[in-house]
């Protein structure tokens, strides 16, 4: 299957369109200025690539971050000539900040007691899922929408998932990319890490001192190649992997960085000899640029002398979750325009960055293939390969069957394959520390979410899955919102110089999976998803899609919900219409999904269905003795089943201690897996969802069992 890029949209500090951004990039212009979006008094570095002149639509779902995404998505769809109201279009959003800028002062005030802790409607723009929800309202409905986060590689992760969706054959197009906006939290955090150059940054220069933060959005419309369509370029290959090394520092030799570049090339049947240009991650930090240069040398060998390399970040800043998508869009424009933009700010190349630098824009006869790399906190690495249409042999489009091989749950009753949750016992509180049995030295940097994810991943894998191509994905509706609020409150109280460098990395939404990946040495893709009450369902669906597409051989997939004052008192009342207001219990639940044939299968994942409100759930017929599992009450589950071919099947309602809980869907999946493993049923349906969207997973025991 060939994937064509048929539309591109960019918002950057250089302009609110792809054309303007690319023209000014190629001219070597730099969109850096003193940040004036908020008070930067006391910050070590105050220069950034702030976007000016983009209007934010009125309404509680909207943030600057989401407004950037709207502009870029509309530009991309217009260029492709695609209207989500007339075609089957999917939406994948990579993002890490959503409404943090709009809400950080408010949640900090709620944490300190300066403001009443109340469900004010403006906080609807806080969860990461607000971006897809707002876009869906404004220009949708999209057939399927997903929010993913893998720190600074989120944009490429979104593209990988879009490719997986196109493989299914049920979409006319998928629009995918990333968006992030500047906020006090990220500026203070990167400053605390001494990662920001107070002056305009200098990627690959021997005097480089760090990055400049930026903001913006990049989205690409991807379609399966077909006669009559006019591509900008081909997305030949994408690859995701994790370093399993350190929560902030890249592994110095760039082994995983090299691995994702090689894999993305191999998946696209593109040889290093076809590549004319690398749009590097090139942040300008001492560690990244040296590591990345080594990785480029490792991949290209003797070809390194020929392959041009530049970084766009000295001109548009490091746009975090948007970076990988913006830079893949730039790569596509390089192919179409046959023009390579330079690395601005590079004066004296560092001998440790011994690659062929683009010092001023280079005009080419052809740009055949471009590699775009992105590396994120937690060692989440990604690469995309963009080529001239039909440059290389057509990439493989085989989808694989997926099985579930294990389950694990941690909650107030401890850690186990069901955690006692399906016995209907009520328990409030947190998982006992001793039940998690983590090595204190290796877990010392982990917050509560990370500890739960690590313990559950460890128990679920139990030594039998290969770590090489095993990824990890956990859903979380509101990330570590209490800790983020406390971090910002501390900045207000003590000044930005006393922002905690150790706390900041744990506030990145993908941090728990990053920690779990490091703790368990999982080298496959690591990412987080968010879809309010169905965050676990969205994570398990994502794992299924990425195993089916061959992006990983296995995934630990689930959800984590820690106890939180702000979630109990602010976010649940806002998002969980009419459900319990009791403080929720802690819960983390996961299953292991693997490609068929490599695993000790408990059940085949027969179907994964995601339906919008009003659409039927197509489930096929239940075998005799089938059972249904879900986190809602039996009455709600029976009513939902009544509309499907599984009407009348006995239901098991999975109780999660007390309080509504976004790990409930994952816990129901774990309970269904356990029921099949114990021979209690051979056919199980797991029903989950959130207002407006239903998720269904059908599990069937293998024939020979």
């Amino acid at each position: 299957m060939r994937i064509w890029i048929t539309g591109i949209g960019i918002v950057s500090s250089l302009g609110a369109s792809a054309r303007e951004t690319f023209t000014r990039l190629s001219a070597g212009e730099r969109g850096l200025s003193r940040i004036d979006l908020f008070d930067v008094t006391g910050q070590r570095a105050t220069l950034g690539a702030q976007v000016r002149g983009v209007d934010v639509p009125a309404g509680p779902l909207w943030s600057r971050t989401t407004a950037f995404a709207l502009v870029a998505v509309k530009e991309a769809l217009a260029e492709a000539g695609i209207d989500p109201r007339r075609s089957r279009v999917g939406l994948v959003v990579g993002g890490t900040t959503a409404g943090m800028f709009e809400n950080e002062v408010r949640v900090a005030g709620m944490m300190s007691g300066a403001l009443p802790t109340a469900p004010v409607p403006e906080l609807r723009s806080h969860p990461l899922s607000s971006t897809a929800d707002a876009l869906d309202e404004a220009i949708g409905p999209f057939r399927r929408a997903r929010n993913v986060a893998s720190a600074c590689s989120s944009g490429v992760t979104a593209l990988a998932l879009a490719r997986a969706w196109l493989l299914e054959g049920e979409f006319d197009a998928v629009v995918a990319g990333g968006t992030d906006g500047l906020c006090r939290l990220t500026l203070s955090g990167f400053n605390a890490l001494s990662a920001i150059d107070p002056e305009p940054c200098r990627p690959f220069d021997q005097n480089r001192r760090g990055l400049n933060l930026g903001e913006g959005a990049g989205f690409l419309v991807l379609e399966r190649a077909a006669p009559g369509k006019k591509p900008i370029a081909e997305l030949a290959g994408v690859a995701l992997a994790a370093e399993a090394h350190h929560i902030t520092n890249p592994e110095g030799e760039g082994r995983t960085a090299a691995r994702v570049m090689r894999e993305a090339l191999a998946r696209g049947n593109v040889s290093p000899a076809d590549v004319d240009y690398v749009n590097a991650h090139g942040t300008g930090t001492p560690l990244n640029d040296a590591m990345e240069s080594k990785a480029i040398r490792a991949v290209f060998g003797a070809e390194t002398e020929r392959v041009w390399v530049s970084s766009s970040k000295a001109q548009i800043g490091h746009t975090l979750a948007a970076a990988g998508a913006i830079e893949t869009a730039i790569a596509a424009m390089c192919v179409r325009e046959r023009l390579l933009p330079p690395t601005a700010g590079l004066v004296t190349p560092d001998p440790a960055c011994d690659v062929r630098h683009v010092r001023e824009a280079v005009r080419m006869d052809r740009v055949r293939a471009v590699v775009s790399s992105s590396f994120g906190f937690g060692g989440m690495d990604a690469a995309a390969v963009v080529t001239e249409p039909e440059l290389a042999p057509e990439p493989d489009a085989t989808r694989r069957r997926v099985v579930v091989s294990a389950a694990s749950v941690a909650g107030p009753r401890g850690l186990g394959d069901g955690g006692g949750l399906d016995r209907g016992e009520q328990a409030a509180g947190a998982a006992p520390d001793e039940a998690l049995s983590l090595d204190p030295a290796r877990a010392r940097r982990q917050d509560r979410s990370a500890r739960l994810c690590s313990a559950v991943a460890h128990a679920a894998l139990d030594g039998h899955a290969s770590r090489e191509r095993c990824g990890v994905v956990f859903g979380s509706a509101f990330s570590s919102v209490d800790d983020a609020a406390a971090f910002v409150q501390r900045i207000f109280e003590k000044g930005p110089r006393l922002a905690s460098p150790a706390d900041f990395p744990n506030l990145v939404p993908s941090s728990p999976v990053g920690h779990a990946s490091i703790y368990e040495a999982l080298l496959g893709p690591a990412l987080a998803t968010a879809d309010v009450g169905a965050s676990g369902e969205s994570a398990i669906a994502t794992a299924f899609e990425l195993v089916a597409s061959g992006d990983a051989d296995a995934f630990v997939a689930g959800a984590v919900a820690v106890r939180s004052r702000l979630i109990d008192q602010v976010f649940h009342p806002l998002f969980d219409d009419g459900r319990t207001r009791a403080p929720r219990s802690e819960c983390c639940a996961a299953v292991v999904l693997e490609r068929e044939g490599v695993a000790r299968a408990v059940a085949i994942v027969e179907a994964v269905r995601i339906a919008r409100e009003g659409e039927p759930l197509e489930l096929g017929a239940p075998l005799s003795g089938a059972r249904a599992f879900g986190a809602a009450s039996p009455r709600v589950l029976e009513a939902a089943l009544a509309k499907t071919s599984w009407a009348g099947v006995p239901v098991s309602s999975v109780e999660l201690g007390v309080g509504s809980n976004e790990a409930a869907g994952a816990a129901a999946m774990a309970a269904a897996t356990r029921a099949i493993a114990r021979g209690e049923t051979r056919h199980a349906l797991v029903l989950g969802g959130r207002p407006g969207v239903s998720y269904a997973f059908v599990l069937r025991a293998p024939e020979h069992a």
Binding site: A441, R444, R445, G495, P501, A502
Partner: protein, 107 residues
């Protein structure tokens, strides 16, 4: 800011107390769960081999020292000799606090 009062106290006692305080700060701020602060050697290297700390710990320790003692640790290579050991860090803190007009500049 315990050390603002301590400048007149006898130097030997002062340096022992300061070292103890720094060790407690290290264990607490770097989450060295279960580690006994008194077991940290005054002259043992803090980073790399010694306690097994890394650059992220160095940043956290520098921030904590600034918060706790009001003493700034310079950024980059200049921090290396100061972070060599607990003793070196205590010397830097003591010197900064006893310098004339010791209050560190705030930017």
């Amino acid at each position: 800011m315990l050390w603002s009062k301590a400048r007149e106290i006898e130097p030997y006692v002062m340096s022992q107390d300061l070292r103890r305080e720094i060790k407690e700060l290290i264990v607490k701020e770097l989450n060295l769960e279960g580690r006994d602060p008194t077991a940290i050697q005054d002259d043992a290297p803090l980073f790399g081999e010694g306690l097994g700390l890394d650059s992220l710990d160095a940043l956290q320790l520098a921030m904590s020292v600034e918060e706790h003692f009001g003493v700034r640790i310079p950024e980059g290579d200049a921090a290396r000799p100061i972070f060599k050991s607990v003793a070196a860090l205590a010397d830097h803190v003591a010197r900064s606090l006893s310098a004339p007009g010791a209050a560190p500049p705030r930017s």
